[in-house]
Symmetry: C2
Subunit: 240 residues, 2 copies
DNA sequence: GCTGCAAACTTGTACGTACAAGCTACATGA
DNA sequence: TCATGTAGCTTGTACGTACAAGTTTGCAGC
């Protein structure tokens, strides 16, 4: 938080308030002029914060009406788990460690192209299984370049939220991602981990996360059990 | 195009130029000041156009460097087909009509919740199969509320691009979407249409497209063969 | 030759103004 | 009572200024 900008501070405050139910789902946020007055910022700056909340799917803006709270889902709304129509909250989400973080070299034929900087840095690797209400839904293989992340393997405990840890410890925030998605079939390893039979359909996803650190990217290869929960995302909403 | 705004005009021009290879992949666009001067717009307005190109994944902006062309993928970069790392261009994409557009009532238990407005309007329904180089990759079931779309069933030919048709005929543009994704298994119908065996894994996707018309949404239920081509998307990139 | 610094670019942040356009609620008039 | 229109709210668009901060380039000095 050393050099957070004004609009980021407001963005973070509003996001926290939305997640903490200060504003109910479907209700309107204070108007841009009200926020501008109460936070002592110009309307332009307020609009910048709201715009980010909108592209991340937390609110919908409507001309003449206001900014309406749309979703409380976390992690950028890029692709998160949903039951019927309700996003799964953190309360029902558990994380199990399969392999603790370890420092190694990058795998050969890595699933994304790496820069020389990343190649040289070496790679931190760990594996987690995510469950919703005791049901395993995601087998996640994460790779991080070891770039200016002091004491990572000592500090990070797999049970805690990874993104939250990055934010609190290093001021790193995920701001976007590229991903590739396939329909695949569970092999023995995946079937065991996700409580499926060999041959059951699973989602295979390769992800490259973008962060607020200019050249730092995080990588994930994951398999999802979508028997009970679908993956969901929202995008766009830039135009009128 | 009756009332396109300045930034939308610039946005459309730049997007067209990117897709038409005026700017090569990896090269930098003219700077904000140059665009501002050449288009006779303020820098703020230019930034608004560039910002939209960025959130849709066409460019990446870098402080001190410029706006770098990142991708030529179409359809908002929300979720499009990719081979190894190259987006599939329109040249290799064919569309086959399975069911021509017909006006009917909405299916019972529709996969998204409908407003009263939509319920009352009735529904246009058609089915297409998309192929890349003769390989069927997508079975698409599209539903549209019949709201102020005169002569739709007469005018729309399934062979043409649906989004392009909407833009040219009604000035409707897709500006975002919500979607739910599952890994599933091909039944006989889907297997036949996609050239798969029964039991092969497929992606099942429900989509709700948002348009520039305030209360008009388009709906799609689709099945994808991801044997050769993955689905891909980019999101975010709002922050520094 | 080469190091290092400064100038000249780039985008990012923050402020401000003005008016357009959509929505709502209330008052006015038939 | 009820329709209508207007006042007052909302966000959207477009312009402008100023300075911060990252990147590149090239020149001066060693």
């Amino acid at each position: 938080m050393s050099s957070a900008t004004q609009y980021q501070i407001l963005y973070n405050r509003l996001k926290k308030e939305i997640l903490a139910d200060v504003y109910e789902l479907g209700s309107v946020l204070p108007s841009e002029n009200e926020l501008s007055a109460s936070a002592n910022l110009s309307r332009s700056t307020v609009r910048q914060a709201l715009s980010q909340l909108e592209t991340e799917g937390y609110i919908v803006k409507q001309k003449g009406k206001g900014s309406i709270v749309k979703s409380k889902s976390r992690a950028l709304n890029l692709l998160s788990f949903q039951g019927f129509s309700a996003t799964v909250g953190n309360d029902h989400l558990q994380t199990t460690a399969i392999q603790e973080p370890e420092l190694s070299t990058w795998p050969a034929d890595f699933f994304f192209e790496l820069s020389e900087l990343e190649q040289g840095a070496g790679c931190i690797h760990f594996i987690r299984v995510r469950s919703i209400d005791e049901q395993a839904v995601m087998y996640e293989n994460t790779y991080i370049p070891h770039l200016n992340l002091p004491k990572f393997t000592r500090l990070f405990k797999l049970k805690t939220s990874f993104f939250e840890f990055l934010g609190k410890t290093y001021d790193i925030e995920v701001v976007g991602m590229d991903q590739h998605i396939w329909a695949s079939i569970a092999d023995i390893e995946i079937a065991n981990q996700l409580g499926l039979k060999v041959g059951d359909p699973v989602l295979k996803i390769y992800r490259k996360y973008h962060t607020n650190r200019p050249h730092l990217f995080l990588y994930s290869m994951l398999f999802c059990n979508t028997e009970k929960y679908a993956m969901s995302n929202s995008s766009g909403g830039v135009n009128a």
